[in-house]
Symmetry: C2
Subunit: 232 residues, 2 copies
DNA sequence: TGACAATGACTGACCGGTCAGTCATGTAAA
DNA sequence: TTTACATGACTGACCGGTCAGTCATTGTCA
């Protein structure tokens, strides 16, 4: 091969180990003294660095030396926070998914039209997932899932099944209210979600060949399900 | 982690180096003598073994020792057929995609209704991709694509762009004939294909949690696009 | 046809680089 | 000082890639 995979120590090393040991606690927010606090800071740095590396290289190809360097930490420090590479990976994914899971609990969808509710979901999704690093996590799960059944299980339980259940409820409501014509859609909420997933995958694989306007695509898709919108 | 990834030397070792050197050419078809023919046979064995391993483990985690063992061949033999691991991977994917690409050329879709044409596509897809090892290849591309731009490019050029173009043409025809109400669909043929892709991914990640009837899902999706079918 | 030589597919022990994980040593907070 | 945290040199297993040697097959000549 010639111009393939990104090189090891690239990307922003985040903090090249700035603010060395003996720094003053400083004014208020940033440095933060107290052992526990500092430790938590480091742990966070490690998590972010590791996620970055895992996304860029996948599990096996990621070197903990690189993670350490990017986090501005010695390799040994990683092992103060995680048992080993594998459990670090699993814990990482779990952590990264928590906010997503939070979202799935929040709005018991009533009030306006079902379409508005779904549109809200879609907008949130694009903002929070498709255009964030979180989208890459989804791709990472697709990539490593088969080798990490524990991850796949967790993802299914916490995200997929909940998400689909929510969508199914929404669809049934839409059918009941006459907003959705196709009754059978409730049997396959996946159809409702599919384009969103595609958008994420497209983003990381083909966006440089042919950029995809996810927002527009999702709008067209909703028009397909709910019928054309009256007002443009 | 505990019960994860499959073990190295599993699966059928194909031929544990059976039919040793001095065997007779046998009756007619199977063994096949002649140096070139034997070599081709081995190459094929290597390709199949490698594909299997790559699918199960991903690029980096795959050991060429295992590929060799599975193919019933010495490791050195691999290097008689491929320059190195990377080019082997690329060549493999390309090879595996050829039949798929062939499909995309074949039927310039006319004759019956557009829906029938699309349904044909869907059926073919389920038979040839979703339920075959070929589906795993798609997942493999999603997984390794970012690290192998050459693969992603190839896949986009040879499969994605052609496939989408074909779908777009079909959609436009459908719109012109009044089979498809939603005119904007032609702008995003991805929507038409999305559930199929989801089915493939679902298959390899979640099928053991919740099996998915891909055929039914695709039917519902087509009903959504073309309107409910008259006769059941 | 039989004997011998040339060929090159195939082998697998080996080498060298890489990287997950360890631990003796250093440092600063308590 | 004591204690808990942090470091990074180090170890050893692992794996991609090599290559000298083997031997069935093919070609050649008598």
């Amino acid at each position: 091969m010639s111009g393939s995979s990104p090189k090891p120590g690239e990307g922003v090393p985040s903090k090249p180990a700035s603010r060395r040991r003996g720094a003053v606690p400083a004014a208020s927010s940033e440095p933060l003294s107290g052992r526990a606090a500092r430790a938590a800071e480091r742990r966070q740095a490690i998590i972010e660095a590791a996620l970055e590396e895992f996304i860029a290289r996948g599990f096996t190809a990621t070197r903990l030396d690189d993670v350490a360097k990017r986090a501005g930490v010695a390799k040994g420090t990683i092992y103060l926070h995680f048992k080993d590479k594998e459990s670090m990976f699993e814990e990482l994914i779990r952590t990264a998914l928590v906010p997503l899971i939070g979202r799935l609990h929040t709005p018991p969808p009533i009030g306006g039209s079902v379409r508005d509710a779904v549109e809200g979901f879609a907008r949130t999704f694009i903002q929070e997932v498709a255009s964030t690093r979180r989208g890459d996590i989804v791709r990472l799960i697709v990539a490593e899932g088969p080798r990490f059944p524990a991850i796949a299980d967790f993802y299914y339980r916490e995200v997929v099944s909940r998400g689909l259940a929510a969508m199914r409820a929404l669809i049934e409501l839409g059918v009941a209210r006459g907003e959705i014509a196709q009754k059978e859609l409730a049997r396959f909420p996946q159809i409702l979600v599919a384009p969103a997933l595609i958008a994420v995958i497209w983003q990381s694989l083909f966006s440089r060949h042919a950029p995809l306007d996810a927002t527009e695509m999702l709008r067209v898709h909703l028009d397909l399900i709910f019928g054309e919108r009256r007002t443009s």
